[in-house]
């Protein structure tokens, strides 16, 4: 009766586990090591070797995608992150790429989810993804797909990213020219900042909440200093939440908001507890105009600095007009004209 069943149970399970599964596991071997001439080290410290320049690229980071277009690699992109199709970003990319305009470019993932199957189906030569997405990276590398992991903390990191992309795709010349251009813009800003005697203090406000800011060790901090100001937040963290009291204590001259769909500078000016802050009293609350143009993780970061400097020191004799410098920059970086913010 049941006794014989137990034997059947036991045998069945042993067969399944002892024989069938090992067959599957053994039959799927790992990929052999390749020999190559193209080599970069990504932000994880991982070496990436390619036999030939990458032709099919899946890029799951919007800012990196921007960089690829700057390198004139648009046609090599076979997959992008889902936020390319977000309204305020889509309007720029639809000009850059016909497939994006027709919404026909596949989106196999983004910063919190990657469909491994969909990535594999696109047959990429390389996948560009945030270094923090360790599990997805493991999954892809295990199947033998090269992965370039990105982690950006400063504009030097942005230079490295563009440089590495250039090496991986054989576009080293264009990469160098992009980087030199940006460095020159940075020099211009530094010179202008050098002429400022009393640097204004800034509180930077992320869009997730009024109390979210960045400290000394961040791209935001670099932006602020490039814009000729100082960051009131002296903590080291890249991203942190402070409290209202602290902000009042810091008493920033300017409040700079990241592009915020939920709040306008007027809303900040209305905040009761902050009425004593200089920035509020003098109505020096500004919002960066466009995610696309202010992206601190691309070579467009000087534009954000220009915007800041222009608004912080309106009377200073610096010929920095954000709008015209914006079109100039776009022309150089993308080789085309894009709508203004």
């Amino acid at each position: 009766m049941f006794a014989s069943f137990n034997k059947v149970n036991g045998i069945g399970i042993i067969i399944f586990y002892g024989i069938i599964m090992p067959i599957f596991i053994i039959s799927c071997s790992s990929s052999p090591k390749k020999h190559s001439n193209i080599e970069v080290v990504d932000f994880r410290g991982q070496k990436i070797n390619l036999e030939k320049p990458a032709e099919r690229i899946v890029c799951l980071i919007e800012s990196a995608t921007s960089g690829l277009f700057m390198l004139d690699l648009g046609k090599n992109i076979v997959g992008v992150s889902t936020n390319i199709y977000d309204d305020d970003i889509y309007k720029y990319y639809s000009v850059l790429d016909e497939r994006i305009k027709n919404k026909s470019l596949p989106t196999p993932g983004n910063w919190d989810f990657v469909s491994i199957e969909s990535v594999v189906a696109l047959k990429p030569d390389i996948v560009i993804i945030w270094a923090s997405q360790t599990e997805s990276i493991n999954a892809l590398e295990n199947i033998g797909i090269p992965v370039y992991g990105v982690m950006l903390n400063s504009y030097n990191d942005v230079y490295k990213e563009i440089e590495d992309f250039g090496i991986l795709t054989g576009k080293t010349q264009r990469a160098d020219s992009l980087i030199s251009y940006t460095k020159a813009e940075v020099e211009k800003l530094k010179k202008a900042a050098g002429r400022i005697e009393n640097k204004k203090s800034i509180y930077f406000m992320w869009a997730q909440g009024m109390l979210e800011t960045s400290g000394k060790n961040s791209t935001v901090n670099q932006l602020i200093e490039l814009g000729g100001c100082t960051n009131v937040c002296i903590e080291n963290e890249e991203h942190l939440i402070v409290n209202s009291e602290k902000i009042i204590e810091w008493n920033p001259d300017i409040i700079l908001m990241w592009c915020n769909s939920k709040m306008e500078p007027e809303d900040v000016l209305k905040k009761n507890e902050w009425q004593s802050i200089n920035a509020v009293k003098n109505k020096n609350v500004f919002e960066l105009p466009s995610i696309f143009y202010s992206d601190l993780w691309t070579l467009k970061f000087p534009q954000a600095a220009r915007f800041l400097m222009h608004n912080a020191y309106p009377k200073l004799d610096i010929s920095i007009n954000p709008d015209s410098s914006c079109s100039e920059m776009t022309k150089f970086l993308y080789n085309t004209t894009l709508p203004l913010p």
């Binding site: 399944f16 596991i25 199957e117 047959k123």
Partner: protein
């Protein structure tokens, strides 16, 4: 009795066809179910029909889908068996493998690893899961004896501690890391590969074997400590063995799949309603049925393409109504 035998036949016959079916379904736009079936037929019967898509199909079927399917099966089986075993040794039908703080500890470990860049998430999750259970056990020991009630109580408290620690880690993380942590705790298998399957294979096999050997003794333990002792079974020692086995397996699974809630609680009840509470029969059925059930749920989870719902949510949405339905139909009434 006849009905029971029929159920058993069905339960044991289904896994293989289900696995084959699962391999062939998926979200890919590049090929569809038929293509997959054709490729499978070719591969198994060694006929040669080169298809331009062959390499992609092979990679996806064998390296993306198959490991995930096997992991889903193992995870479902382990959680169900561990749940059944824990319910027996605690003589409480409301416990799950997570009762001793396992899930909270593992989630905390994973969160910690995710915020210390590039630390091994799997190892941390596994380790902290075990630490939490050990803490619960040590907290409940009095004069070398552990009563089931005090064990459950300390489990709840240790679980609470780790949940609080988890919240602290989450609070201090930037949005990127926070998103990854939250996704992890909700359970997901979309990054499964052969490496993750291999890493859990051994602890799972060992533990399942131990629980399989102990399956009839669980009946004795379920009756009570006195009854067990007087008939010759040491309840303390047996409880530790079962607990260690169930915890090792569950912790190994959590470390690669994240927290799949409710599953280890519900499935043993379903199985009990189908084949009765005799653990001698129920334990193997729990493994096979639990494996199939989670596999089916994961199939849903990954083929509804546009956004992958974390599997933990799915187990709730699919498992709970099915369980309610069984509850209404069944005649057994809990006291």
């Amino acid at each position: 009795m006849k009905k029971n035998r029929l159920i058993l036949y069905i339960v044991y016959a289904l896994p293989l066809p289900l696995i084959v079916l699962s391999i062939c379904i998926g979200p890919s736009d590049v090929f569809n179910f038929n293509d997959a079936l054709i490729w499978l037929k070719n591969h198994l019967f060694c006929s040669n029909e080169p298809n331009e898509n062959s390499y992609i199909i092979q990679t996806i079927l064998l390296n993306v889908r198959l490991p995930r399917i096997l992991l889903a099966f193992m995870a479902g089986g382990v959680l169900a068996v561990s749940g059944a075993a824990m319910q027996a040794i605690f003589r409480n039908p409301l416990v799950s493998p997570y009762i001793l703080g396992l899930s909270s500890g593992a989630a905390f470990g994973a969160a910690l690893a995710l915020s210390i860049s590039f630390a091994q998430v799997q190892v941390f999750a596994f380790g902290f899961g075990l630490i939490a259970v050990a803490m619960s056990y040590l907290a409940a020991i009095r004069q070398k004896q552990v009563s089931t009630v005090s064990l459950i109580l300390s489990g709840v408290i240790v679980g609470g501690i780790f949940t609080a620690l988890l919240t602290i880690v989450q609070f201090m993380s930037d949005p990127f890391k926070l998103q990854t942590i939250v996704a992890w705790t909700m359970g997901n298998m979309h990054n499964t590969n052969w490496a993750s399957v291999e890493s859990v294979f051994i602890p799972v096999i060992l533990s399942i074997l131990i629980l399989f050997i102990f399956r009839w003794k669980l009946n004795v333990l379920a009756l009570g400590d006195q009854e067990a002792q007087s008939s010759g079974l040491n309840p303390q020692r047996s409880r530790i063995i079962v607990l260690v086995a169930a915890t090792l397996a569950s912790s190994a699974i959590i470390s690669v799949t994240g927290v799949i809630g409710l599953f280890g609680l519900i499935v043993p009840h379903m199985v009990r309603m189908m084949v009765g509470p005799n653990n001698s029969v129920a334990i193997p059925v729990n493994f096979v049925f639990g494996g199939m059930f989670l596999l089916i749920i994961d199939d849903f989870s990954r083929t509804l393409y546009s956004f992958e719902i974390p599997i933990g949510i799915f187990t709730m949405l699919i498992g709970a109504p099915f369980f309610l339905y069984l509850m209404k139909k069944t005649k057994t009434v809990w006291e």
